[in-house]
């Protein structure tokens, strides 16, 4: 059991950068271009890891801590998620809250690091990032509460694992709603297109990119990797909701997980090439729409 959870975690950690790669490739193909190769994110990470980092003299330890902290918290959060469709590596009652706030802690430390630079531009970026994050969090909790109601469990292993599949025939409509809701939240949480454009470098519209502007070299690599890992974690959560994997072996479910990462990359790419980034006042509406889907699922369960 532990081995299968470890195997899936390993697959997730290795394959996470596939998602942005596939998303970029899908977007390029759909708009009639060839696009960078699929392993481009790996090449980028390798390039950044070999570079040196530059630190401004006004920064302190908070700035240097941020990239490591964001990777560490995301890894811890992914250890709680039942990545192999059965159980998480770590599981305890109420770990759903720990999951949400590990992601929150990573963001908080990243924000601290950005504020540490003393740049007013980064201050603006953090205020944007935090104001949208504060909308994503209730949405995430609505989804978690709904799954808690559906399975009567308080840990992610219970919510997304075997218990869910025993009740699946009864709760299927709301679980599918929750999966869509989680996809919307993933786009917002990981700074993808309708909310933020990862390829833009226009000061007026940047959200997430602003905060990481001063990070360079390995630090930037850590931040990019953590973002990919976060997307992979969300993709794994969605996979747990819509595909049962209890019957598969350790290798099978790890392979399905990697397939799901590729599929979510394609989904993100399709969304990115079919719609433009929303105007900033419209973003709360988009996130609220996702939350409303989750609430709809919750209402169906409470009926």
């Amino acid at each position: 059991m532990i081995l299968s959870a470890l195997g899936s975690l390993g697959a997730l950690v290795v394959a996470a950068p596939v998602i942005p790669g596939v998303a970029t490739k899908t977007r390029a193909l759909l708009t009639g271009r060839r696009g960078p190769p699929l392993w481009q994110p790996y090449a980028d990470l390798r390039k950044l890891m070999r570079k040196g980092a530059t630190y401004s003299t006004t920064t302190t330890w908070a700035f240097r801590l941020a990239p490591l902290a964001v990777v560490a918290t995301t890894l811890l959060a992914s250890a709680i998620v039942p990545l192999d469709g059965r159980r998480g590596l770590v599981s305890f009652t109420g770990d759903a809250v720990a999951f949400a706030y590990l992601l929150g802690l990573g963001r908080f430390l990243l924000v601290l690091g950005a504020l540490d630079t003393g740049s007013s531009f980064e201050g603006m970026g953090t205020s944007r990032e935090v104001s949208f994050a504060s909308l994503v969090e209730p949405g995430l909790f609505v989804a978690l509460v709904a799954l808690g109601v559906a399975t009567e469990r308080l840990s992610l292993t219970g919510m997304f694992g075997m218990e869910l599949w025993q009740r699946w025939p009864v709760v299927a409509p709301s679980v599918i709603l929750l999966a869509v809701s989680l996809f919307v939240l993933m786009l917002a949480e990981c700074a993808r297109v309708p909310v933020d454009d990862p390829s833009t470098h226009l000061e007026l519209t940047m959200i997430h990119e602003v905060m990481v502007l001063d990070h360079s070299g390995p630090d930037l690599a850590f931040i990019l990797y953590a973002n990919a890992l976060k997307m992979a974690v969300f993709a794994a959560l969605i996979l747990d909701l819509i595909v049962p994997r209890a019957a598969l072996g350790a290798w099978g479910s790890a392979a399905v997980l990697v397939g799901a990462l590729i599929a979510s990359g394609i989904a993100v790419g399709i969304v990115e090439s079919s719609m433009a980034r929303l105007r900033m006042p419209k973003v709360p509406l988009f996130i609220a729409g996702g939350t409303a889907l989750g609430l709809f699922g919750l209402i169906l369960l409470l009926q």
């Binding site: 409509p173 509406l285 609220a288 729409g289 409303a292 609430l295 709809f296 209402i299 009926q303």
Partner: protein, 212 residues
């Protein structure tokens, strides 16, 4: 059949929220047209049998609600050269919130109503929420055209409610209701057109200034 009707009713609720959340008139009209199509598909799916009564109702509904009325509303937009944006008196986010509250309330109310849906337990909540969201759109959007859209949604909700009693309501009554809606929307469209000619805008607030 059960799960298919469930899916259709889900989609009806989604179109409700699409109208609440969209800022473009044409998007609202498209959502209402889709809703009309779904309502037309519902009776054969719900009852599982295709009698002449059910089939005629389905075809009539699709024709009027998904084809004729949306086309007419689009004509009104084009002819009156209305600005393509919805003028919400209550913002999109609060109206979405109101919609969710309406959804919760209609599920709560549907449980205690002494009506038996008979076909699908989602039917009555979907009907109630469509009525309430139709009302919300009617009240909170300034433009006369969006009010027509709200009125259409209101009527769609009543139609959904009527589906619970379909076996008992004679065909003529159904057709009469459909005709009523058609004429109602038609008159509203003409009125919208004239308000626009008179005031160069279709804000319903101008109605208070109409004189002989």
């Amino acid at each position: 059949m059960e799960s298919l009707s469930q899916l259709l009713l889900f989609l009806v609720v989604f179109t409700d929220f699409a109208v609440l959340g969209s800022s473009r008139l044409s998007a609202c009209i498209r959502a209402v047209a889709l809703q009309g199509l779904l309502l037309g598909l519902l009776p054969p799916v719900l009852f599982g049998s295709v009698s002449l009564h059910v089939l005629a109702l389905a075809v009539g509904t699709v024709l009027v609600k998904a084809v004729v009325l949306p086309a007419f509303l689009r004509w009104a937009i084009r002819e009156a050269s209305v600005r393509r944006e919805v003028d919400p008196l209550v913002g999109y986010l609060p109206s979405l919130l109101l919609g969710v509250i309406a959804l919760a309330a209609s599920f709560a109310v549907a449980n205690v109503l002494p009506v038996r849906a008979g076909y699908s337990d989602l039917l009555i909540p979907a009907a109630l929420v469509t009525v309430v969201i139709g009302l919300i759109v009617l009240i909170t959007r300034a433009k006369a055209l969006t009010q027509v859209v709200g009125y259409l949604m209101l009527e769609n909700g009543i139609y959904l409610f009527g589906l619970t009693q379909l076996q008992r309501v004679p065909f003529l009554v159904e057709v009469g209701v459909l005709l009523d809606v058609f004429v109602g929307v038609f008159i509203m469209g003409i009125v919208v057109f004239h308000i626009n000619r008179e005031f160069d805008s279709i804000s319903a607030a101008n109605l208070t200034r109409l004189h002989e």
